[in-house]
Subunit: 361 residues, 2 copies
């Protein structure tokens, strides 16, 4: 049957409140190197030299400065520093859909990596509903002088925007390529999506369907290519490629919208959310998971282990991806070698949503 899962628009409304203010102690001015210099009885430049770790300072002078420094609780004014030096310690990050697990984690990782390197991350969250969002965001970026710019969601528009925009600073587009490195030697390894497909092959599956993400996302295309080449390599048959938009709703609709189901025994969704939707739609068609059909996702969102049935999926380390992106950008900014970043390989997590093909079929 096809009972729709209740349109998300329903009943009763209610009133809620938000917020509460705090008015704690407000620190007064803020010490400058001049204040410190005066307190220490030296010139501001001596203080500046001390701060930069200059060696040639007499021990007694050094001590006076040191003392004045923490007496006044001096904190460098980064704004002044940027103005003079022409470079800030801020990284701009353009991203979509922060609230999704993947992007969210990537931002977390990026934020942490940036902080560790002494930078802060300025998040520019793109509003998907606003077609001019990217344009506007780039305008903002060019003003707030940043040390570099990062694109954390690599859709085609984003990539294109980055390629055609003349930034005054290094820019980097972080893209993932799921287990299908361009290096042909690794193409058939039991890595990433190939591992998923191999897993299904072992279980006896021959006919599979892929539920892909939006074709404008490079991650989506990568996953699709990876899937198809793995299927081919295993001598399996891809019955269909359905398309969603990463959401559970789209996964549901991709299948609920079909006049009749393809004769596949396994479905591989490009992310867990779509897998969730797909599972519900399949169940509503009267199929049991995994007895009648196996479903596999990608990402291993925290809820994946607690679905019914728990979802077999490919775990991605998003945080590491975020960190990696920042390190790459920092390398460009600081003209250094891109520190060897280790993004752990995707890990196949087998749960109950995938099972052997039953002979009875």
């Amino acid at each position: 049957m096809s009972t729709s899962p209740v349109s998300p628009d329903a009943e009763t409304a209610t009133a809620g409140a938000v917020d509460s203010t705090t008015a704690p102690p407000r620190a007064p001015k803020a010490a400058t190197i001049y204040d410190v210099a005066q307190a220490a009885g030296v010139s501001h430049q001596t203080v500046s030299r001390f701060l930069k770790g200059f060696e040639g300072i007499r021990p007694e002078t050094r001590e006076k400065v040191e003392q004045a420094l923490d007496e006044l609780g001096y904190r460098p004014n980064l704004t002044a520093r940027s103005l003079k030096s022409g470079r800030s310690h801020r990284i701009g990050a353009l991203t979509h859909e922060i609230s999704q697990v993947g992007p969210g984690r990537i931002v977390e990782g990026a934020s942490a990596a940036a902080r560790e390197a002494g930078y802060v991350l300025d998040i520019i969250a793109l509003d998907a509903r606003n077609p001019r969002a990217i344009e506007e965001s780039l305008a903002i970026i060019t003003q707030h002088d940043l040390a570099g710019v990062l694109a954390l969601a690599s859709t085609d528009e984003m990539t294109h925007a980055f390629e055609t925009t003349a930034f005054r600073v290094p820019a980097y587009v972080a893209a993932e390529s799921d287990g299908v490195p361009d290096d042909p030697r690794t193409k058939l390894s039991s890595v990433g999506l190939p591992a998923v497909v191999a897993h299904l092959a072992e279980l006896g599956h021959r006919r599979v369907v892929h539920i892909a993400g939006p074709h404008t996302w490079s991650a989506s295309r990568n996953r699709m290519r990876a899937f198809e080449s793995a299927v081919e390599a295993q001598g399996m048959h891809s019955e269909a490629i359905l398309h969603g938009d990463w959401s559970a709703r789209s996964g549901y609709e991709a299948i609920a919208g079909l006049a009749e189901l393809p004769g596949a025994t396994a479905y591989v969704a490009a992310n867990d959310q779509m897998a969730i939707g797909a599972m519900l739609a399949l169940k509503e068609r009267g199929l049991r998971i995994p007895e009648d059909v196996s479903v596999v996702g990608i990402d291993d969102i925290p809820e994946a282990a607690y679905l019914d049935p728990p979802l077999t999926t490919l775990r991605n380390d998003f945080e590491a991806q975020g960190r990696a992106a920042v390190h790459q950008l920092l390398a460009l900014i600081e003209q250094s070698e891109p520190r060897p970043v280790t993004v752990p390989p995707p890990l196949l997590v087998v749960r109950r949503s995938s099972g052997p093909v039953l002979q009875a079929g």
Copy 2:
């Protein structure tokens, strides 16, 4: 039975790659008002006045400036501006768990609201694993001169840190209060959690259990209080308050860990993730949802409608909350009236996970 949902640690590993670099056109210097002034044949101050919308400028002068301005593609240097004016256009936002739907959406809303007001949001993502995270983040904040500081995750530590830190700028702790305004008149209204409880009461439920979040989160405490007072108001009985950490896993364990189930016919989780875990644990105990037991969540995450069964939940408008928080802060910053922010009330969304108590019971 109690087949555990397969520990999230499993099989096969794989290698994946990340990233790809772009080296697009790099814009050269950047025009200053002096450059513009020279090009227009006027003084830089005239340019400045033009930019600030000063009226008393001769039309011909105005025109020259205007032309030079866009010929050079002038963009104000916000750094210099902040240095001089002592105030930046950046808002620092401290937050936890961005990858969760709630916090993530809040950040999106805050980011958008900030941008609309001409500010950018500097995200400081707190690492939950690092106990000194808040401290470190506050240190960062004091340096990067910000126009204001926002706490978007109101745990006790965060609130405490904000209350005891002497910021040089306005600070605001955004807290939600779910349908339990302090105003006693509205206490029993059919709002927020009271609406959830009323819904259950209508279905004939009398004995309920709450799965709360961590007690250090104010949102969690609010929800718990709201739940209990609503239950009392309906003459129902709260069988137990279980505690989780917002995760699906914790929801699962809260119930799977019980020696025997409380004799309740309905479970209300403080968020949807815990509801997901709870549903699985209940099913594994052999209970059917909603025939044997009803489960309700809070938040209405996008997947909620596609779970099995689709989850009855209370929809929160996180984006609006984020916007509201920014507006409150901006009011403090700009010493203006806190623009009346409308955070839509939580909306009860009834799906299939809640149903009438069966007489047979």
